[in-house]
């Protein structure tokens, strides 16, 4: 069954007709040519497909496109301001936080979402003071909060400092 939907992707309004079973990931990549989110596992387990959906990081491979009519989607390709890289993009370069680059767009979108969550005071599974007003993003917190993004090249050792740098540490 085909349904017409409108989504805003990286600042652009897009209208398209999709089968109801189409995921947001496939709509982005196959239909709209937005290939920055990657299909790593297609089961919501690797995070390579992470995008920001109405400001929150999600696995686009598990989101049905028709369930997100009118949503605002930001992919890694939509983070830069013209030629001005997003601070996280710059930090990933400066800290050598990727090798093959396949997980990288998902890592960066996830980190953007994660920093917003920390800013909002959300605790994590490793937060010691559970009721603290402010989140302190030490390496343990970053690793826990980013645990949904796998990197087969194991660039984790540089991903964490890249994120820490943008977090102000």
């Amino acid at each position: 069954m085909d349904v017409e939907i409108t989504v805003r992707v990286d600042g652009r309004d897009c209208r398209l007709t999709v089968d109801t079973r189409t995921t947001l990931l496939d709509a982005l990549r196959e239909r709209l040519g937005v290939t920055s989110p990657k299909k790593g596992c297609d089961h919501g387990q690797c995070g390579a497909c992470t995008v920001l959906l109405d400001g929150r990081r999600v696995n686009s491979c598990l989101a049905l496109a028709v369930a997100h009519q009118g949503a605002e989607v930001v992919t890694a390709a939509g983070l830069a301001d013209g030629d001005g890289l997003h601070p996280l993009q710059q930090a990933f370069i400066t800290n050598d936080a990727f090798q093959c680059g396949y997980c990288t767009p998902g890592q960066i979108c996830s980190a953007v979402g994660m920093l917003a969550e920390a800013e909002a005071g959300w605790p994590s599974a490793v937060s010691g003071d559970f009721d603290a007003q402010k989140v302190v993003l030490d390496d343990g917190e970053i690793a826990e909060r980013m645990s949904g993004n796998l990197c087969r090249c194991a660039a984790y050792a540089n991903i964490v400092p890249a994120i820490a740098q943008v977090a102000g540490r």
Binding site: T20, R21, T23, D42, H43, G44, G47, T50, R56, R57, V58, N59, L62, A63, L64, A67, S110, G113, M114, E117, A120, G121, W122, P123, S124, A125, S127, F130, D131, A143, E144, R145, M146, S147, G148, N149
Partner: protein
């Protein structure tokens, strides 16, 4: 809503359902997106109880200040599950209804009585390291994967459901079935019965609660064994206690035997251990998970000691 669609089902965040559809395990012909049909708010009820709308996301639930303060075990349980991305999408109702992660259930090529009644249970004499030690039957030894449900079980949560026959309230301890000879039915809910909210009753010592999860990795893995506990110690005696186990059965396991053994007793490691042993005395490990029995006992003792340590 699903009256005319016997093969239809409800869609929340889709984090389990869409995956199962892709695997071919679940094949609904109609999906009803219920995220806007139920409340996405957490509201305070008279008397100090909290009502959690079924559409509240896992992230919002765990971040809520009232939940963190009054029922830290629940927030910790939610945060210990899945990933940040999944918690942002997953709903309260969907989390309760997620299906087992037994590998054979998810694999169309292997016999599974839950997926296909009568086909057999591949896990009983196969890979069962992550499966049940309590309440299993020869038909099925699957475990329920939800962390949130374990904490809700310990805290005495009550589910509100709305169906073709009207509304009803179901304590979480009665929501899930044991597999018996009908493992294809995870819960007592009927077709078309929608979870609308979950009530957390006021619990005077809820703030003295904890969720501990033991798993193969430090993050992003299901529980081998988990414990949700709330403990009220006064003058060195257990005034009241709530205890539930995850990762050990087809449903979160409310440890009523251990609770009864502890009430009124000294809050000591020795008493905690004998109560835990009493709870696990009927455990029947499978070929690959005997380690879960001492692990469960140790985890109960360790968690209760941690909670008791904060109280005189």
């Amino acid at each position: 809503m699903l009256a005319g669609a016997p093969d239809g089902t409800f869609l929340g965040g889709g984090t389990n359902l869409v995956d199962l559809m892709r695997l071919g395990v679940t094949t609904p012909d109609v999906l009803v997106d219920v995220r806007r049909l139920t409340s996405d708010r957490i509201e305070e009820l008279p008397g100090g109880a909290l009502r959690i709308g079924a559409a509240v996301t896992n992230s919002e639930l765990a971040a809520d200040r009232s939940v963190r303060r009054r029922y830290p075990a629940l927030a910790q349980a939610v945060l210990s599950g899945a990933s940040g991305q999944l918690r942002n999408m997953a709903t309260t109702g969907g989390n309760l209804l997620q299906r087992t992660r037994c590998a054979y259930f998810q694999d169309l090529t292997t016999p599974c009585n839950k997926r296909q009644p009568g086909s057999g249970c591949s896990a009983l004499h196969g890979h069962n390291r992550d499966l049940a030690i309590l309440g299993w039957s020869p038909e099925c030894c699957a475990t329920h994967p939800s962390d949130m449900a374990v904490a809700m079980t310990a805290l005495g949560a009550v589910v509100h459901a709305q169906g073709p026959d009207g509304q009803r309230q179901i304590p979480v301890t009665e929501l899930y079935r044991l597999p018996g000879d009908a493992p294809d039915r995870d819960t007592v809910l009927g077709h078309g019965e929608l979870i609308t909210s979950v009530d957390l009753p006021a619990l005077s010592f809820g703030a003295s609660s904890r969720y501990r999860k033991v798993r193969d990795r430090a993050s992003y893995a299901f529980a081998l064994v988990s414990v949700a506990a709330a403990l009220d110690v006064t003058d060195g005696l257990v005034r009241d206690v709530r205890l539930a186990l995850g990762g050990v059965a087809h449903r979160p396991w409310r440890a009523t035997r251990a609770e009864e053994a502890l009430r009124g007793e000294p809050a000591t490691a020795e008493r905690f251990r004998s109560a835990a042993v009493a709870e696990l005395v009927d455990a029947r490990p499978l070929s690959g998970n005997a380690f879960k029995v001492p692990l469960a006992v140790n985890l109960i003792v360790s968690t209760l000691l941690e909670l008791a340590g904060g109280q005189p």
